[in-house]
């Protein structure tokens, strides 16, 4: 059979808002080229025309439905670094709580997409169901389920409501038990292992060379996490470990995500226990002096890089956002060479690329 050009387009059950151009020979994919830009909103240009405070909802929409709390942290840290602003302790703890809850929700979402890609709809329903618990908690804390605009320049906007601590601890205990269910039902499912093991193996040297970040990098065995390398907020006060995988295949990428959920539960327990009393916001007019800063935060999908250049006015001169999915995108053509057609959804979903992240 001659080489067929297949286009898995933006309207497709598995590709979210990406388009892939495949060269298929029989059942083997020879080459894959991603065609991105379907959700490009020009956020970097928009950010230059708005003040720092007006930019908060805009920056959050870089990755709104999965991980908005993690996305915001980098922008705020950049501003605070250039301004030299010190955030109150309680606000830092609250920011970490929101970010870690978001990380759990985002990993559950990634697991649900993975189950859909392999055809196990049961786990789609279970993970989305459990994600609802987390979103409910976040709604109590911030007032919104998905895009919070909770963290602001100098702190956070709302304080923890009464009864939040007990409710959160209860739900975290439930989630910890549930993770065992997920191991038995999804990860140790024999058919799932046949599908996901040895598929899309990313060697650690390749991963570092290509600039891969996040759970994808850690699944290949490289122990790199911004929370440990360059601790920001109050991450240096918590006791947690960085899970890594052994082989770098798709199964490991999912297993690392589940292990990170367990670690996030540990961090959350410590944060809820140790949170000090105090103010939650140090409000000043965000007049940022001239300067620049590059901050890195660890969102759920990897490292978010924010490069801010300010010229002393109320609006940023240049804000460059480097999302983790944009950096992970290059792994996709690298891994999808000479693989069976049935492996393409598995590899793509295991890398956890979010089109909004990639396009900004």
């Amino acid at each position: 059979m001659s080489v067929m050009k297949l286009s898995i387009g933006p309207q497709h059950p598995i590709s979210a808002h990406f388009r892939f151009l495949l060269d298929v020979d029989g059942d083997v994919v020879l080459k894959l080229e991603p065609d991105i830009g379907y959700t490009h909103r020009g956020i970097e240009k928009l950010a230059e025309k708005r003040t720092y405070l007006q930019n908060l909802p805009v920056i959050e929409r870089v990755n709104s439905y999965c991980d908005s709390a993690g996305t915001m942290l980098g922008y705020l840290e950049a501003i605070e670094e250039v301004m030299g602003l010190k955030v109150p302790e309680r606000a830092k703890y609250l920011r970490v709580i929101a970010a870690e809850l978001n990380r759990i929700a985002s990993h559950l979402y990634a697991a649900s997409l993975f189950s859909v890609a392999t055809g196990l709809e049961t786990m789609l329903m279970w993970t989305i169901n459990d994600r609802e618990l987390i979103l409910d908690l976040l709604e109590r804390l911030t007032g919104q389920r998905i895009t919070y605009t909770y963290q602001t320049i100098g702190g956070v906007r709302f304080d923890m409501p009464d009864g939040f601590k007990e409710e959160a601890l209860k739900r975290l205990d439930y989630l910890e038990k549930r993770t065992e269910d997920y191991y038995k039902m999804l990860l140790w499912n024999h058919t799932f292992q046949i599908r996901a093991r040895k598929v899309g193996i990313l060697k650690p040297s390749d991963a570092i060379k290509l600039g891969i970040v996040g759970p994808n990098l850690r699944a290949s065995g490289v122990r790199a996490d911004v929370r440990k390398d360059e601790p920001y907020e109050v991450y240096d006060k918590f006791d947690f470990s960085i899970p890594t995988g052994k082989n770098g295949d798709s199964y490991d990428r999912l297993e690392v995500r589940f292990k990170e959920v367990e670690q996030s539960i540990q961090i959350l327990r410590q944060a809820i226990k140790d949170i000090p009393k105090g103010p939650i916001k140090k409000w000043t007019q965000p007049i940022v002096p001239q300067g620049e800063a590059y901050t890195r935060v660890e969102a759920a999908r990897g490292e978010f890089g924010y490069y801010l250049v300010s010229d002393g006015t109320m609006k940023p001169y240049r804000l460059k956002i480097t999302p983790p999915s944009f950096r992970n995108l290059i792994a996709l053509p690298h891994l999808c060479r000479n693989v069976p057609l049935g492996d393409i959804p598995i590899i793509y979903i295991s890398l956890d690329l979010i089109p909004m992240d990639v396009d900004r």
Binding site: H12, P13, I14, S115, G119, L120, T122, W126
Partner: protein
């Protein structure tokens, strides 16, 4: 005397063709199984399933009927460059072929010694095997006639899968034929009057159950149907009543397959007589046991959808060729070698 039949025989024929096991039975089976599958899988997935449409509150019993009515009033779209004849006729033939097998399976034993079957032939097992072999052609015709890359890929995969799994089916049928000595389905049931064949041939039972799940394209073998890479496989371009026919023909197939396995391995209609039903008519208790066994098999086949992910096409073909065929051959060898122990227990030979 019409068609060489007396009046009571004519009434019986009309009953058989129209009600059971004729037109109404596979349709009713499909409706009930679709409802049950949606509710059952919903509970596995921690959901509720259909709720509102139906007479009993919060059960959604008529949901399949509502879906069917919705589908048949939609516009039928034929793609421009499609082969119109094949495209339009493929769903009809799919439904026909699927329900054709039901005509040859005996469902009960009448008190006068004959069988409750639409058309009695001493070669009914061979006929049914031949009908199953025709199924891949329909899929390839429909997929090719749709003139779309996705459909072509889906149709080829469907054909590969079904052809690969027909061999284990034929082999386990062969070991049943060895044990019972006849191709006649009714005589096979009679041969199980003392012990069901599943006790003698457990390996054969497992082989045919798995192979039939692949033939029906049920998860974990549903690559032809619901594939994430190729949208929906060979029936992608069908809408409206044609889509409804294709979906319902899958359940007609399920009806035929579970009836077949019940006859071959689970003793058909044999079971203790139920006094209440026997008062109405002596064949009703046989039909009751038959339906009960079909129901158990249906539940087992449906459960696979909630538990297993999908296999990749080469892993699937690998399982068919290198695992199931040796198992089936092992079953034949065991059957042949242990002949002296089971021969006296098989009745009616």
């Amino acid at each position: 005397m019409i068609l060489g039949l007396s009046f009571p025989q004519l009434i019986e024929l009309i009953l058989k063709v129209l009600i059971f096991p004729g037109l109404a039975f596979p349709l009713l089976f499909a409706m009930i199984v679709i409802w049950f599958e949606r509710k059952f899988l919903a509970r596995i997935m921690l959901r509720i399933g259909p709720l509102h449409v139906g007479p009993i509150n919060r059960t959604g019993l008529f949901q399949p009927i509502a879906d069917f009515l919705k589908l048949i009033q939609k516009e039928i779209i034929v793609p421009d460059n499609a082969n119109k004849f094949l495209y339009n006729i493929a769903p009809i033939i799919a439904a026909l072929v699927a329900s054709l097998s039901v005509a040859f399976i005996p469902y009960a034993l009448k008190p006068d010694g004959s069988y409750w079957v639409i058309y009695y032939t001493p070669l009914s097992l061979l006929v049914i095997l031949a009908i199953f072999t025709a199924r891949p052609f329909i899929m390839v015709a429909a997929g090719w006639a749709s003139n779309s890359k996705y459909c072509t890929i889906g149709a080829i995969r469907a054909a590969l899968q079904l052809l690969a799994y027909e061999v284990p089916i034929a082999l386990s049928l062969a070991s049943i034929v060895i044990m019972s000595g006849t191709f006649d389905l009714a005589k096979i049931v009679e041969a199980q009057s003392s012990i069901w064949f599943i006790i003698f041939q457990p390996i054969g039972f497992i082989v045919i159950l798995i192979a039939m799940m692949a033939e029906l394209s049920r998860r974990p073998f549903d690559i032809p149907f619901a594939e994430q890479e190729v949208v929906f496989g060979w029936p992608t371009e069908y809408t409206g009543a044609q889509f409804a026919l294709i979906m319902v023909s899958e359940y007609f197939d399920l009806c035929a397959v579970t009836s077949l396995i019940t006859v071959l391995f689970l003793g058909g209609w044999s079971g203790p007589a139920i006094p209440l039903l026997n008062d109405i008519s002596p064949i009703l208790s046989g039909i009751f046991w038959f339906l009960l066994k079909m129901a158990i098999l249906t539940v087992i086949i449906i459960m696979g959808r909630g538990i297993y992910p999908r296999l990749r096409i080469d892993q699937l073909l690998d399982a068919g060729w290198s695992v199931l065929i040796p198992l089936a051959i092992t079953q034949i060898i065991i059957t042949l070698l242990t002949a002296q122990w089971w021969l006296p227990l098989v009745g009616g030979v």
